[in-house]
């Protein structure tokens, strides 16, 4: 069965190259359901029974003289369910987003195929192979958009990531002489530690962890939304999947703690994660391009996951997984919503948008729900995840990490409101637009469902996560369907929900006590009448929204990280320009090189 699924995926990739847009979208949609079907079939190892086709849980494929070991594990099942839920929705969304089939579908399916491979990989070569395949398929999807900076920066960072990972793989391989995860024994020595750190940094590139994040804002803001939804929702999770794999499934985190007696890289990872969350949040609300804002928001939200991994306690890891799960969905929805808005208005700048909510109420509602999850408003699953992380930080007494993380959480309100106000509310600049097409709405709705479910039942999510972590030997935290308990405090989602509903009663009574009249937004306190000359003036106060903070904070954020990378680039350029002066163009010089070379080789060999 599994081989049939793989074959069908490959076949679909080929077919979608050649068929028209509609057919390609339909094929892509149905094919993208396949991994999900397989995952549901494998859900039996979680104790659920949805369908049973009896798809085998492991398989070895021999190609080119090497064997690819594939098998499903609880951890990869969990990551799989969040990543592969995105694909059908994205395909659905793209149905009305694209006018023609110019390479989106095949490469998207290729990305899906390689994500499938990454999650099933049971040896390092397979992991790396699919990892690279995903890198280049997403590279081509970025390259499609013909933006120079995005093309270069993504390929360079992908290569960097690949090399860091392969360096780790080689170090582990030279120690264990095997590529299989099951045959790797980590021992606390320098090489292993370097390997683990190298791999973590490699995966951190894709997970957009500071300071390796610089590609993300550029790429996110220069690519198509359906694809960016995958980048932010799926690809970054695969980066964290890699980190989970090497830190906890293989006990890399423990090894590092054993090797370093004082400050272990785990702690540094937590600090980097927290700083990433904080700095990205501050930068996020200085952005005017919605895609850049969401990109920085992604970097910030993903930073929390790194904090969880760095702390490494049972609470923290569960929180990190939960945060990853939420982020996959709400960030995908937000990017899709931004795409839907852009599809109707053709604008990206927040200061030019505004008032979209009245014309696209469903899009707004869906985006609002995701923003609530993003801002971790209580009773959303976003809160439960962050709560776990905060608890973990307090419990581990990380006095540096905890406040930074918390203030980043507050900062999330600020940019959330920026999105809500700038894009959806405020002055109505778009009288003529319509609600997004049905397929887009359906796509967003599907993705928002898990958020709604886990609002009331955080326990179910925790069930899933504790099973996912079971093979890493991490016990589950005490919880019921509605409540989570830690040694520090407890959180009862249903109590909050019921009280909120109860508290809504008096509010509702007040609301219903007197009738109200709905007026146009221009009919306001400032002016009953607008001179006809200024009839079309924008009443949108979203330009330079957080100017005061910007004025204060900007000096501290300059130069940006990207400037350092540009500095490296310039340094290399100087090196290149200097070194290639060797090629003077005169054969006399070349003859001298030849003579020197000859004498050097001769001298070296005879002297030795």
């Amino acid at each position: 069965m599994l081989d049939i699924i793989i074959a069908e995926l490959l076949l679909a990739i080929l077919i979608t190259f050649f068929v028209g847009k509609k057919l390609a979208a339909i094929i892509a949609f149905f094919i993208s359901l396949l991994p999900l079907v397989a995952l549901l079939d494998w859900a039996s190892m979680y104790g659920f029974k949805f369908i049973s086709f009896g798809i085998e849980k492991s398989m070895n494929i021999a190609i080119s003289g090497i064997t690819l070991h594939l098998a499903i594990t609880p951890l990869s099942w969990f990551f799989g369910i969040m990543i592969f839920s995105l694909f059908p929705a994205i395909m659905l969304f793209s149905y009305s987003f694209y006018d023609k089939n110019d390479g989106f579908y095949p490469f998207m399916l290729l990305a899906l195929f390689s994500s499938f491979g990454i999650l099933l990989a049971r040896d390092m070569l397979t992991l790396f192979l699919f990892w690279e395949m995903m890198s280049w398929s997403s590279f081509i999807l970025i390259y499609r958009n013909k933006d120079k900076e995005a093309t270069i920066i993504y390929l360079v960072f992908s290569t960097l990531s690949a090399f860091l990972i392969i360096f780790g793989i080689l170090l582990l391989y030279s120690q264990n002489n095997s590529l299989l995860f099951s045959e790797i024994n980590l021992t606390p020595n320098l090489e292993t530690v370097v390997a683990i750190i190298s791999m973590i940094s490699g995966f951190a590139v894709k997970a957009a962890l500071m300071p390796l994040h610089v590609w993300a804002p550029v790429v996110y803001s220069k690519s198509d939304e359906p694809f960016v939804a995958f980048l932010a929702g799926g690809l970054s999770k695969l980066g964290y999947y890699g980190m989970f794999l090497f830190m906890f499934s293989l006990p890399g985190a423990k090894i590092m703690e054993e090797y370093f007696s004082h400050i272990s890289p785990n702690y540094i990872l937590a600090v980097i994660g927290a700083l990433s969350a904080f700095i990205a949040t501050i930068i996020a609300f200085m952005q005017d391009d919605i895609r850049k804002l969401l990109a920085y928001s992604s970097i910030g939200q993903l930073g929390y996951i790194a904090v969880g991994l760095g702390i490494g306690s049972q609470l923290a890891i569960t929180g990190a997984l939960f945060q990853a799960f939420n982020h996959a969905f709400f960030k995908a929805v937000l990017f899709l919503a931004a795409g839907a808005v852009a599809y109707r208005t053709g604008k990206w700048k927040i200061s030019e948008l505004g008032g979209v909510a009245y014309k696209m109420p469903i899009t707004f509602t869906i985006a609002l729900l995701s923003i609530f999850t993003l801002a971790a408003i209580p009773i959303t699953s976003g809160f439960a995840a962050k709560w776990l992380l905060y608890e973990a930080a307090i419990k581990a007494k990380y006095i540096f990490v905890a406040p930074i993380m918390l203030i980043a959480g507050v900062g999330a309100f600020l940019y959330s409101f920026r999105i809500l106000y700038g894009v959806f509310l405020g002055g109505n600049n778009h009288p003529d637009i319509k609600e997004a097409p049905k397929s887009m709405l359906a796509a967003m709705f599907v993705l928002v469902l898990p958020m709604i479910i886990f609002v009331i039942f955080p326990g179910y999510a925790l069930d899933m996560m504790s099973r996912a972590l079971s093979d890493a030997g991490i016990a589950s935290i005490p919880h019921t369907v509605f409540t989570i308990k830690t040694s520090l405090a407890s959180y009862n989602a249903i109590a909050v929900l019921i009280t909120l509903i109860a508290a809504l009663i008096p509010a509702f009574l007040i609301y219903k006590s007197k009738p109200h009249r709905i007026v146009d937004f221009k009919d306001n306190y400032l002016a009953g009448e607008i001179p006809s000359k200024y009839e079309n003036i924008s009443m949108h106060a979203a330009h330079n929204f957080y100017k005061p903070v910007e004025d204060v904070m900007k000096p501290y954020f300059e130069p940006g990280t990207i400037e350092y990378y540009k500095g490296i680039y310039k340094g290399l350029a100087i090196l290149s320009n200097t070194l290639r002066k060797v090629y003077t163009g005169f054969t006399q010089d070349y003859a001298i090189y030849v003579a020197i070379f000859l004498l050097t080789v001769m001298g070296w060999l005879i002297w030795l």
Binding site: K581, Y583, T584, G585, F586, T587, Q588, A591, I592, A595
Partner: protein
């Protein structure tokens, strides 16, 4: 070692050095190719010297097989000379082309870096 062979090796070394010096210092393309030819000659001489036996005769099947020089290097040298000639011929063609384009055989720099 035989004095002749010594002298021969010395000549080989001098020819090679002279040729190399020419290639390394001259800007005139014709002079460079002449230097290359000199080097070529040096190597050819080297090959012949290797095969040389003091007092040996030409390796022609003869009634008295007293002592003759190694025939193989001589064959090699023949081949090498032929190659050298063809290379020189091509070089001259290219030089004519170069001269017709630039009007000079002095190389003053062109494509670089």
């Amino acid at each position: 070692m035989n004095g002749v062979i010594m002298a021969s090796y010395f000549t080989v070394a001098s020819l090679l050095s002279i040729g190399l010096y020419g290639v390394m210092t001259k800007r005139n393309l014709m002079k460079i190719f002449i230097s290359l030819s000199i080097m070529d000659t040096g190597v050819n001489l080297m090959l012949i010297t290797i095969g040389y036996l003091p007092g040996g005769t030409a390796p022609i099947e003869n009634a008295n097989f007293a002592k003759y020089v190694d025939p193989l290097p001589q064959a090699l040298v023949l081949t090498a000379i032929v190659i050298g000639v063809s290379v020189t011929a091509l070089a001259l063609v290219l030089l004519i082309k170069y001269h017709s384009k630039k009007g000079t055989l002095e190389y003053k720099g062109g494509m670089k870096w």
